[in-house]
């Protein structure tokens, strides 16, 4: 059952297996998801989170396979349902740190109906949206974020559906923490992940990542590396209007768009109502 060799563990050094299982990834060499996984494993270490107190709930897709690599309590669930299942974990067991993980099809396609509600309820789950703008696991069909006119398996003449803007949506839904990272920028991702995990309430992380196998057109390493840029230094994460404006900008900006540090999480809200009776 152990697949990562001792030799590799030696090369990677002390602590490499602190949060990583020895499972070999099922991802293609060069997939952006490696960068995301790398950042996340480091951040939980930096935060000193206990493995067993984390619960990672994922959907189905290449992204959905993430929990298999992480030494925590993991639940690889159904396509599109990481959000409600993660909510159930958190509401029943508030002492756990709960992550939800899914691809763009998972979170915005089949699971898109759940997102507004975890956001407006402000349930204390950190959502990692692995956005490669394609359906990876089913071999390259259009996803809700596939750029217009990109040729895909399901739209060989070009995708006719205008893509959704995940950060703008999360903001419109009233998410209390919204940030974007890029799979090629591990340090940037680490910083927002750190903040997201410590945020009280729902946090939404839009993580842009190339699918090297099924997208040779738009979300490639080359094109993303060129187009991604950090949010302006002047941006204040408390400014919802500015966040929305920047989210709707043509340019793909990374960093913390918005955070509301005052609003109580769902459970805290219920508790306050209870007290006040």
């Amino acid at each position: 059952m152990t697949y990562i060799s001792d030799a590799l563990v030696k090369v990677r050094g002390e602590g490499f297996l602190d949060y990583r299982t020895r499972e070999l990834p099922t991802w293609c060499p060069g997939c952006g998801y490696f960068g995301i996984a790398h950042a996340l494993l480091q951040v939980v270490g930096d935060l000193g989170l206990k493995n067993e107190e984390m619960c990672v709930v994922s959907g189905i897709g290449c992204a959905g396979r993430f929990p298999i690599f992480m030494k925590v309590y993991g639940f690889h669930t159904l396509h599109g349902r990481s959000v409600p299942i993660a909510s159930g974990v958190k509401l029943a067991s508030p002492e756990l740190t709960v992550f939800a993980v899914g691809g763009d099809g998972d979170i915005l396609g089949i699971g898109g109906g759940h997102l507004p509600h975890i956001a407006r309820k402000n349930i204390d789950v950190t959502l990692f949206l692995f956005d490669n703008s394609i359906y990876g696991l089913t071999k390259g069909q259009s996803s809700p974020t596939t750029p217009l006119e990109q040729a895909t398996g399901s739209h060989p003449r070009g995708n006719p559906d205008t893509p959704l803007n995940p950060v703008a949506l999360a903001l419109s839904y009233g998410a209390s923490f919204v940030a974007r990272g890029f799979a090629g920028d591990v340090e940037g991702m680490k910083s927002i992940m750190h903040q997201a995990i410590t945020h009280k309430g729902f946090s939404f992380l839009h993580l842009v990542s190339p699918c090297v196998t099924f997208d040779k057109e738009n979300y490639t390493w080359k094109r993303l590396s060129e187009s991604v840029m950090p949010l302006p230094h002047t941006h204040v994460p408390g400014d919802h209007d500015a966040a929305l404006r920047l989210a709707r900008d043509e340019r793909l900006m990374t960093g913390l768009f918005y955070q509301d540090t005052v609003r109580p999480s769902y459970i805290d809200h219920l508790e306050a109502q209870r007290q006040s009776v």
Binding site: C55, I60, Y73, F75, H76, P84, L91
Partner: protein, 589 residues
């Protein structure tokens, strides 16, 4: 002289006339006096719109197990609707109608003209008296109750005391006008009506309620049982007839630190329950047909990932949105066989309000110990039917925590889905420092790792089914009533229809028939041995249920391998013993 009494009363009006609430006042009052009560309401699924409402209840000094098919006393608040109920009134029954109704009917549309010769019809000027009492038509229902009290020997001071208790907290003016309407109805009847029918509660030999009693309906019993079983999360989406479970828990679950969440849809509700179950906490959702149809994929996940979950489906008329406020037992196939793949799940169907409580407690215990979804099939009748029951005994500590944890030494090479003889694998929960694993809806090996070879799939499938074999030992047995040994007719029924079956058997037996009934609150796993044994002793087998195709008959066919006669009713009403007696009455020697 005291005597045994068994009277079926029906109040019929149109939406907004207080029909259902008049029924509730009467049933709760009679119940508090010690009568055995079975009640059943029926109303349109629209908020307004003049639809027919019927409050039906049976009050008896004996044990009663089902509503009556025929009515002894029909109270018409709306003539047009009540006329359609006349066919169910006994040939010597009593009709109470508004002699000056609010809508001026043409001659031939007054219900009095439709009553058959043998019936006794009492006209009461309900509208007039209500207007007198409170200045508006609202109190017509209470006027009618006043007339009933006078005609059938209910002490008015007891009823007014009850009304005061029942409406406690409401505005004094409302309580007052209710009582005034009641009393005016009572007095008017006393002075103007001479009683001509034989029905009365006077001198009824009431068994004074022993021990602590409590009045509740099926929804309340389920909600209370869930709380008593240690519910930590209720997730739900409104739908008739299950909504009340959510509303009750929304009020009360918070007090014990639990959470009630109203989700965006039923998929999310079931998902929240599965998440909570994965984390080791007890959770439940309740829905009806259309919502249950949406939960299929999530139930399959719980089967494959071996996660406990309790899902209540209070059945209504189907398919699709169907008949939202009518009684039916037609989600059995979907509950047992609706899963894609080989997807076993426990299915329970409680028989009455008492059983609702017991089965719900059992559901939590079984779900957790056997790491499986459990579906509880209620129905529209059971959800709303009010019974006066012994205060239920809460589940003990063992029932409240049935997790099976691995031994410490097993944690070295921990197999979450270890192959065991019982089929139950030791289970760790998030938060436990050892025993981390990744659960998945993919087929997996004993460690939880996705694996697709045939040998593993077979072994794991066998394990998942083996649990159902193991649990048989601690599930409630089938209940047989009636004649022992070989019988002419055996009646199989399930869920809330089994009260009618038992009652029918009792009546037929009294007439000298060799007849027996069979019922098991456990639908799946099928009680195969018990079914076979019962089948062996019956010359004719009848399966009585409230759906069109005979879903229970189909389900047990591979066990019985014999012809059965199907009594399948889809009238929107609960089953009555008369339905069964009439059916078997048609059999030829």
């Amino acid at each position: 002289m005291t005597t045994s009494v068994d009277i079926v009363i029906e109040i019929c009006g149109s939406a907004g006339e207080g029909t259902i609430s008049a029924g509730e006042v009467m049933t709760r009052f009679m119940s508090s006096k010690g009568y055995e009560i079975v009640s059943f309401d029926s109303f349109p699924s629209e908020i307004r719109g003049f639809g027919k409402c019927v409050a039906h209840f049976r009050a008896s000094t004996e044990t009663v197990l089902a509503p009556g098919k025929y009515t002894d006393v029909l109270i018409a608040l709306n003539d047009a609707h009540a006329i359609t109920q006349l066919s169910g009134l006994r040939k010597n029954g009593v009709l109470i109608y508004d002699s000056k109704p609010p809508v001026c009917h043409e001659e031939d549309r007054s219900i009095a003209g439709w009553a058959e010769p043998g019936m006794t019809a009492y006209g009461i000027p309900m509208l007039e008296l209500a207007n007198k009492a409170a200045g508006n038509a609202k109190g017509r229902n209470m006027v009618a109750i006043g007339a009933v009290a006078c005609l059938f020997g209910i002490a008015p001071e007891e009823m007014t005391a009850f009304i005061e208790r029942r409406f406690k907290g409401k505005k004094p003016k409302i309580i007052e006008s209710n009582i005034d309407s009641f009393l005016l109805g009572y007095e008017w009847t006393k002075t103007h009506v001479s009683k001509e029918d034989p029905y009365t509660f006077k001198g009824a030999e009431i068994v004074p309620p022993e021990g602590e009693k409590t009045i509740m309906n099926g929804n309340e019993a389920v909600a209370m049982a869930a709380m008593d079983s240690g519910l930590r999360l209720y997730a739900g989406y409104p739908i008739t007839p299950a909504t009340k479970i959510m509303e009750i828990l929304s009020k009360r679950l918070g007090e014990s630190g639990g959470v009630m969440i109203q989700t965006e849809d039923e998929i999310s509700a079931a998902g929240n329950v599965v998440g909570a179950g994965f984390s080791g906490k007890r959770a439940m959702t309740a829905t009806s047909g259309p919502g249950f149809a949406l939960m299929g994929e999530m139930i399959n996940l719980a089967v494959m990932a071996e996660v406990p979950a309790v899902i209540v489906n209070s059945q209504r008329g189907g398919p699709s949105t169907g008949l939202p406020t009518k009684m039916e037992q037609s989600d059995l196939s979907a509950a047992v066989n609706g899963g894609t793949g080989d997807s076993p799940r426990v299915v329970f169907a409680p028989r009455d309000v008492v059983d609702c409580y017991a089965i719900t407690c059992l559901a939590f215990y079984i779900a957790e110990k056997y790491q499986t979804p459990v579906v509880i099939l209620l129905d529209f009748y059971l959800s709303n039917s009010i019974r006066n029951i012994d205060k239920p005994v809460p589940p003990d500590a063992e029932m409240c925590s049935s997790n099976v944890f691995p031994a410490d030494e097993a944690l070295d090479d921990y197999e979450r889905f270890k192959i065991t003889e019982s089929g139950i694998s030791p289970r760790t929960l998030p938060g436990m420092p050892f025993g981390m694993f990744v659960d998945t809806g993919l087929e997996h090996n004993t460690y939880g790792k996705p694996v697709y070879d045939g040998e593993n799939h077979l072994v794991m499938t066998e394990k998942r089914y083996r649990k159902f074999h193991t649990m048989q030992a601690e599930l409630p047995p089938a209940v047989e009533t009636g004649t022992e040994g070989e019988v002419e007719i055996g009646i199989l029924s399930w869920g809330s229809s089994s009260g009618a079956a038992e009652e029918a058997v009792r009546k037929a037996q009294e007439k000298g028939q060799r007849i027996a009934s069979f019922h098991c609150s456990v639908i799946y796993p099928l009680p195969e041995e018990a079914l076979k044994a019962f089948s062996r002793r019956c010359r004719i087998l009848v399966v009585a249920e409230l759906n069109y195709t005979g879903q229970y008959a189909n389900l047990i066919a591979p066990v019985l391998n014999r012809e059965v006669r199907r009594l399948t009713l889809i009238t929107g009403l609960p089953m009555a013993s008369e339905d069964i007696l009439e059916f078997i009455g048609t059999f030829k020697g």
